[in-house]
């Protein structure tokens, strides 16, 4: 049931984005802000991609663990270590899945910080334009549009990160209660 809701929500979201992109590409020539918005969205998505899919996979796997389904440990061990050989050398496949998931969550931490730093710097410049600390008739709206575009993948990263954190902690609680 939940998976169906997830897929319906994802489809609706993708359709909305695609429709919005179509509408905006139709008016890019007249609106430099629209072009800036799309550039901000795509450019920040490029850096957010690893986080979005990483946190998404962590949440899905954690849910499988909570529901008691079988999970391939070796695949997750490969994500945690840099390579399959490293994963074997570290004997990661001997660990519990929930433990591996919390390690995988930790692996994504530096990428998350770098991403949020980039977004914060852009947001800062946009805020300066908005508060008239900096002012430019041409660059002000463009920077603001880039920030709004960047806010879309940032929202995804933020909510998926939150979801992954909750699911992993639930999986860990289940593991600990089983051990006790």
């Amino acid at each position: 049931m939940q998976r169906a809701v997830w897929w319906i929500a994802l489809t609706l979201f993708s359709l909305t984005i695609a429709f919005g992109l179509f509408l905006m590409t139709a008016s890019v020539a007249a609106n430099p802000e629209a072009a800036a918005f799309i550039l901000g969205l795509l450019g920040f998505w490029l850096f957010a991609n690893r986080l979005i899919f990483g946190y998404g996979a962590i949440s899905n796997t954690a849910e499988k663990v909570i529901e008691g389904e079988d999970v391939n440990r070796e695949e997750i061990a490969e994500k945690v270590a840099k390579s399959p050989e490293a994963a074997k050398a570290q004997r990661l496949e001997e660990l519990e899945v929930a433990t591996l998931l919390s390690m995988w969550y930790g692996v994504l931490e530096p990428f998350k910080y770098a991403y949020y730093l980039g977004f914060f710097l852009l947001f800062l410049v946009a805020a300066f334009f908005e508060l008239n600390i900096l002012s430019s008739v041409i660059f002000g709206p463009v920077v603001e549009a880039v920030t709004l575009g960047a806010a879309v993948p940032t929202l995804l990263v933020w909510s998926l990160e939150w979801l992954a954190r909750q699911q992993v902690s639930s999986a860990l609680e289940k593991l600990l209660s089983k051990n006790a």
Binding site: N31, S59, E144, A145, L148, V152, L155, S159, L163, Q167
Partner: protein
């Protein structure tokens, strides 16, 4: 599972706010562009006689989105009861005053040199001819000015009640 649904609800709420912000940003930019392409008609918000320069300083507001340019000034001087000066007309004095959009600009109208200082009741009907960038046409705005007329009007209103 309760925790996951909280994440979903909060995320949807934030996403709606974000979508609203994006939508209003683009709507606002479009409206700004439309307004910036509409020329306004200048409004004289205040006129003050400057005794030292023997001139009247008009504060003119350009309420539109395009810049306007005053290309010439004309005025008709009508004497009041207290002055000995005779009435005269000065027409088509070429000037070049830019009125930037959305701001009030001070425009000085020099009265004829060698004439007496304005006295109570003297009237000056000024006509400004201006152009805007969208067409080569000339437009005019005329403003009647009477020395000390503001105080008189207030008294009239009080008397009327």
């Amino acid at each position: 599972m309760k925790r996951a649904s909280i994440v979903l609800v909060v995320s949807i709420f934030v996403a709606l706010v974000l979508g609203w912000t994006i939508g209003s940003f683009f709507t606002g930019r479009n409206v700004e562009k439309v307004i910036a392409s509409i020329p306004g008609s200048p409004i004289v918000v205040n006129a003050v006689y400057n005794k030292e320069h023997h001139s009247i300083v008009y504060s003119i507001l350009n309420p539109g989105g395009t810049p306007l340019t005053i290309v010439n000034e004309s005025f008709v001087f009508t004497p009041g009861k207290e002055t000995k000066e005779k009435g005269y007309i000065v027409s088509h004095v070429p000037v070049h005053v830019n009125l930037p959009p959305g701001t009030i600009t001070a425009v000085e109208l020099k009265l004829k040199e060698g004439t007496e200082k304005l006295k109570l009741g003297d009237a000056v009907l000024a006509t400004f001819t201006y152009v805007h960038p969208l067409s080569p046409d000339l437009y005019t705005v005329a403003h009647p000015f009477k020395m000390g007329v503001k105080a008189e009007k207030k008294e009239e209103n009080k008397g009327g009640k």
